[in-house]
C-alpha cells in the first residue's frame, strides 16, 4: 500500500502549502485561419478556438476533482496575431476583440498571443499590431500581449525597443482608470520561448504543432515549507538537495495533470514549464524561500546567489520528473505577485537595480514592477534594452513587464486584484538615456565564444 507518510505529505502540500497547478494552457495554431478579409479571418479564428478549446475548462475542473489538486487557471495561447494581420490588413483590434469574445464564451482566464516577433526587424503586420496594443488591451478583458524585440541570434532591434517604451506608457495611460492594468498584460521579451504556458507572455510559436497542451506548475510554498524543516547549520548542498526533491514532486503532479488533460481533450501533451510561480497569497512566495535559505529580507546581498541556486535546483529536480520540459522554467520574481517581494519593495530592501541583477540568474526578468507615472518614455525603453541585453548575452529569456502608475509617485500603491497582486511604486533612475534610445538601429548579435 501507499505509505501513510507520503499520503499525508501530499495532502499537507495541497492544503497548507498552496501546491497547485498554475495553468493548463492550450496552444492553438491560427496559421490556417489567415484570410485576405479580416472579418473572414476573425470568424475562422473564433470557430477554430471554440472547436478545440470548448471542453478545456470542463476537463480542467474534472481533473481538479479527481486528484483534489487546484488548477488555478485555464488559458489559451495562439499564433502571434501579427502574422494574420500580415495577410488580412485592417484594424488589428478586431482580432483582439475576437480573442476576447471566444475566451469569454469558453470561460478561460486569459488568452495570449496578441503578439509580434520583431527581433531583427518589422515585417508586414508587425508595426500595425504593435501600435494597436494600447487600444487592444484597453478594450478587452482577457487578451494578453507580448512583443519579442531581441534574441541571441539576431541581436536587439532598438527601433522596436524605442517604440515599446511608448507603447508600455500609452497602455498604462489608456487604462489608468483601471489601475493601469493594461501594462500588466503586456510583456516585452528577448529570446521569447514558443511554448510558454504562463501569461502575459504566452503565444503559440510558428514551430509548434497545430494544437498542444502545456502545463505550468507552481509551488513556492511547498519549497519554503520543506526548507523550514532543515536545521540552521545544514549546508547549502543540503538546501539544494531539498529543493531538488521538492521540485521533483511538484513536477510529477504537473506531469500527471498534463497527461490526463491531453488524453481527455485528445490533444498532444507539449511541455511542463518548471517555473516556481508565486501568488500574492501568504505562504506562496519565492522571496520567502530566499529568506528561508538565510537572508534577513529579499534584496540583501546574497539574494542573487540564493536565487541562482534555487533556480538551478528547481530545474535539476524537475527535469527528471517530466518527459518534456520547456517554456520559461525557473523561478519567477514578479514583484506585485509575491508577498515577500512586495514587503521587500515597501521596506526599501529591494530595488530595481537588485531585481535586474537577479534576472541574470533566473527565468523571466523585470516582472510586475510598478514605476512612477512621470517616468520618461525613453527610460522605459532603456530598461527594456538593459534587460534584453542580459538575455541576449547570456542566451536566456528575459522580459520586461513594468507598469507606469499614471498620476502616482514613489511610495504610492496600485492594486490589480487577483493573481496580478498589488504593490508600491518603486524608484527609477531617471538620468536620461534619450540620446542612445533616439539613435535606433540594431545592437548586433553577440559573439558566442571568448566567454568572459
Amino acid at each position: 500500500m501507499i505509505n501513510m507518510t507520503d499520503i499525508l505529505e501530499t495532502i499537507k502540500m495541497i492544503q497548507e502549502d498552496n501546491l497547485d497547478i498554475r495553468t493548463i494552457t492550450m496552444g492553438i495554431s491560427l496559421l490556417d485561419c489567415a484570410d485576405s478579409s479580416i472579418d473572414a479571418s476573425c470568424q475562422k479564428i473564433y470557430d477554430k478556438i471554440y472547436r478545440l478549446a470548448k471542453d478545456l475548462v470542463k476537463v480542467g475542473e474534472s481533473i481538479e476533482k479527481k486528484y483534489s489538486v487546484p488548477i488555478v487557471n485555464k488559458r489559451i495561447s495562439v499564433t502571434p496575431i501579427s502574422m494574420l494581420v500580415a495577410s488580412s490588413g485592417g484594424d488589428p483590434v478586431k482580432y483582439a476583440k475576437t480573442l476576447d469574445k471566444v475566451a469569454r464564451d469558453i470561460g478561460v482566464n486569459f488568452i495570449g498571443g496578441y503578439s509580434a516577433l520583431v527581433q531583427k526587424g518589422f515585417s508586414a503586420g508587425d508595426l500595425e499590431l504593435i501600435k494597436s496594443i494600447p487600444r487592444a488591451l484597453s478594450e478587452t478583458d482577457f487578451v494578453c500581449s507580448s512583443v519579442n524585440i531581441g534574441s541571441t541570434k539576431a541581436g536587439i532591434n532598438m527601433d522596436a525597443v524605442k517604440i515599446m517604451g511608448d507603447i508600455v506608457y500609452d497602455t498604462a495611460e489608456i487604462t489608468k482608470s483601471k489601475q493601469c492594468i493594461g501594462s500588466a498584460k503586456l510583456v516585452v521579451f528577448c529570446n521569447a520561448p514558443e511554448d510558454n504556458p504562463f501569461m502575459a507572455g504566452a503565444f503559440h510559436g510558428p514551430g509548434e504543432p497545430d494544437c498542444i497542451i502545456n502545463i505550468g506548475v507552481s509551488g513556492p510554498g511547498v519549497v519554503r515549507s520543506a526548507l523550514s524543516k532543515l536545521d540552521n547549520t545544514d549546508d547549502l548542498q543540503k538546501v539544494s538537495d531539498t529543493i531538488k526533491k521538492t521540485a521533483f514532486k511538484i513536477t510529477r503532479v504537473g506531469q500527471l495533470v498534463g497527461e490526463e488533460a491531453s488524453k481527455a481533450l485528445g490533444v498532444p501533451f507539449g511541455i511542463i514549464d518548471l517555473s516556481l510561480a508565486p501568488t500574492p497569497a501568504i505562504g506562496d512566495s519565492v522571496a520567502h524561500i530566499l529568506e528561508e535559505i538565510g537572508l534577513e529580507q529579499v534584496g540583501a546581498c546574497g539574494t542573487t546567489a540564493a536565487l541562482a541556486m534555487l533556480n538551478d535546483a528547481v530545474k535539476k529536480g524537475g527535469v527528471m520528473a517530466s518527459s518534456n520540459v520547456g517554456g520559461l522554467s525557473g523561478a519567477f520574481i514578479p514583484v506585485s505577485e509575491d508577498a515577500g517581494m512586495i514587503a521587500g519593495a515597501r521596506s526599501g530592501s529591494l530595488s530595481i537595480e537588485k531585481l535586474e541583477a537577479m534576472t541574470a540568474v533566473c527565468s523571466v526578468g523585470l516582472d510586475m514592477i510598478i514605476i512612477p507615472g512621470d517616468t520618461p518614455r525613453e527610460v522605459i525603453s532603456a530598461m527594456i534594452a538593459d534587460e534584453a541585453a542580459i538575455g541576449m548575452i547570456n542566451s536566456k529569456t528575459t522580459a520586461v513587464r513594468v507598469i507606469p502608475a499614471i498620476g502616482l509617485k514613489e511610495g504610492d500603491e496600485l492594486n490589480f486584484g487577483g493573481l496580478l497582486g498589488y504593490g508600491p511604486v518603486m524608484k527609477v533612475n531617471t538620468m536620461s538615456p534619450l540620446k542612445m534610445i533616439s539613435r535606433g538601429g540594431r545592437i548586433p548579435a553577440p559573439i558566442q565564444s571568448l566567454k568572459n
Binding site: M1, T10, I11, K66, R252
Partner: protein, 87 residues
C-alpha cells in the same frame, strides 16, 4: 483503479462504520485500511477499488463529508500519490 480516502480528526464513535457504509453504498470495494488513534486524534487511510463504483470520486467525497461529520476527509485518486512518491 483505486482511490485513497483519508479521515483525520477528533476520535468519536462510528467513523469507520460511517465511512465504510458510504463506500459500500457507492459500490466501492475496500482493499486496505490503516488507522490509528493517538490520544484523541483519529487518523485513517482507506484504499478502495473504484472500478465498479457507481458515483464519481467527487460525489463520494461530498457524501462522506455529509455523513461523517466533524472530520477532515479527502478522497483522491491513487495516481497522484504514486506519481509523486514513486519513480
Amino acid at each position: 483503479m483505486r482511490a485513497v480516502i483519508t479521515v483525520i480528526g477528533k476520535d468519536q464513535v462510528g467513523i469507520l462504520a460511517g465511512t465504510s457504509a458510504e463506500v459500500s453504498k457507492a459500490r466501492g470495494n475496500i482493499v486496505e485500511v490503516t488507522q490509528s488513534v493517538l490520544q484523541d486524534f483519529f487518523a485513517m487511510i482507506m484504499l478502495i477499488d473504484i472500478t465498479e463504483m457507481n458515483i464519481s470520486i467527487d460525489q463520494l467525497r461530498e457524501n462522506l463529508k455529509k455523513n461523517v461529520k466533524g472530520m477532515d476527509i479527502h478522497v483522491m485518486h491513487e495516481d497522484i500519490f504514486n506519481t509523486m512518491h514513486k519513480i
